[in-house]
Amino acid sequence: MIDVEHLSKTYGSTTAINDVTFQAEPGEILGLLGPNGAGKTTTMRILSGYLPASHGTARVAGYEVHESPMAVRQRIGYLPETPPLYTDMTVENYLNFVARIKGVAAGDRPTKITSAIERCNLQEKRKVIIRKLSKGFRQRVGIAQAIVHDPPAIILDEPTVGLDPRQIIEVRNLIKNLAGQTTVILSTHILPEVSMTCDRVAIINKGRVVSSGTPDDLMLQLSGGMRYELEVEGDRSYITEQLQRVADLKELYWLAADELPEQRHRLRVSTETNADFGKQLAAALVSEHVGLYEMRKVGASLEDVFLQLTTEETAVEAASTVETDAMAEPIQTDSTQAGETE
């Protein structure tokens, strides 16, 4: 449905995006994930026909955005970062105007507008002037604007930014309900959003697609191997020594353990291979008299993948520090990661 090939965009000497390639199948939700300034908005603007690309092609429903702009514009709904609202109009009048300029036939307009209002849960606000709406409702009007003409493809630029948690859930549900009949591309820098709403993800960093696939795929492919989280008692260097004898460790993180008593530590170990080394691990620790209080198998999180792909110094070395602030907005890290020591 949406086919982006070798897309590049330069502004003077700065390169916004470089050789971006991805596809979105009909009915699928594709998430563009990346830190702020990675080129997500530029990619979406090119897809929507707002910006011309410097190189490469972008096709929507078989039409190239630059060669047949009008055909593409009829087939997409686009929600920019800031919802484009005429604040002095009522929700209904505004949607009517958008439906008109999107070329919806006069006879179809009432049903399509009603359907968009219902899908975005705006029934109560139908006759309200947009200026008087709260941010969450404005965002929904923005989405209603993008779907009012029933386009086969919808492009949403950061649809949940600035909303409160309840509104975020509502908007996510709304997006999920769109899928199936409509192809959705959304951009975000919030990780849980991707695992919750998207069928597939393309991670963009510094204008390049660094990886793509389903959220599960990405986790498997990029942080392959097994991981265990341990709570142990003893001397750190002694424990490290014992652990290194177990298997070819890839990573060893000491996690925050402020609430624990003296000499008690929390750490995470992982290996390159997919072989489960739990048995050996437990045996090694117990037989060498390391006090073991907890041992838990953990799956890789998308955050790990993301940080690994977008952080300059990759956190491969044992006990290295991961820059969690690589992302502008605080994300839900698993409580331990933020306070890593050493």
């Binding site: 707002y50 484009p84 005429y86 002095d88």
Partner: protein
């Protein structure tokens, strides 16, 4: 072609609805009606007084020339006053045409909809022009009422050509003002720049006379004032009409180009 007309109509209606909701347009209308009605009374009073003195002079055998055509003089003088008042009002009307769109980020909506920049610009210009015609209409009715008292009956051609002139003048100024409003997102700057531009176009006639030569002739021909004055005298000169229409087309063309450019500049 039909879709283009439908698009223009969509923009036109949206814009026109906007004028009915905006307090600014009511303030402008009130200001315009009070001022022009006042000037209509003043101008007719002055002309009648002058004509009376003229008649008196002739009766007393002091010469004084031919009898004056009072209704024509009233209309011509009044139209030139109304043209001057409009010069102040039109920049205020055109300043928001695109600055608002920029502030609300709605240009992105228009640019990603199947509608051309031309259709948007034409729709906007038509709407604001209809608003100006709404301003002028009641005043024109007042003029007609006044002129209907004239004996012998006043030739309506001057009336119609004169008002066609003022509408053409408004269209030209608004079109250029629309282009200026598309250049940045400050309405005040747009209004001021439009006013300066219009003033320059207004006095080109005078500049041309001072300059002289072929260049001066060209400047004189481009003057808004010269062509407006010739229309208020009831002369339907095609070159005047062509000049005003050219300004309108130029404004529309520049607007469409400038909107395209905004997209290229944005990072």
């Amino acid at each position: 072609m039909i879709t283009v007309l439908a698009n223009i109509d969509a923009i036109f209606r949206k814009e026109l609805q906007g004028y009915f909701k905006s307090p600014l347009s009511y303030i402008i209308a009130g200001f315009f009606w009070i001022l022009t009605a006042l000037f209509l009374v003043l101008v007719s009073q002055q002309v009648i007084q002058y004509a009376t003195q003229n008649d008196l002079g002739r009766q007393m055998g002091q010469g004084g020339g031919a009898p004056l055509d009072v209704p024509t003089l009233v209309l011509q003088n009044f139209l030139s006053v109304m043209g001057s008042i409009l010069l102040f009002i039109l920049p205020v009307l055109s300043m928001n045409l695109y600055t608002e769109e920029r502030k609300r980020h709605t240009l992105e909506l228009l640019a990603t909809s199947p509608i051309t920049n031309w259709a948007v610009a034409v729709g906007k210009l038509m709407a604001v022009l209809v608003f100006v015609i709404t301003l002028i209409f009641p005043i024109a009715m007042l003029e007609l009422f006044l002129l209907s008292a004239a004996k012998p009956a006043f030739p309506l051609q001057i009336f119609f050509v004169g008002h066609l002139g003022i509408i053409l003048l408004a269209a030209a100024v608004l079109s250029l003002g629309m282009f200026i409003s598309s250049l940045n997102d400050s309405a005040i700057v747009a209004a001021f720049l439009t006013f300066v531009l219009v003033l320059v176009l207004w006095i080109l006639d005078f500049l041309g006379q001072t300059l002289g030569g072929a260049g001066g002739e060209v400047l004189k021909h481009l003057s808004l004032l010269k062509h407006y004055t010739s229309l208020t005298q009831g002369v339907l000169d095609s070159s005047s009409v062509v000049l005003f229409v050219s300004y309108v087309v130029l404004g529309l063309f520049l607007t469409a180009q400038s909107i395209d450019l905004i997209r290229f500049q944005q990072s």
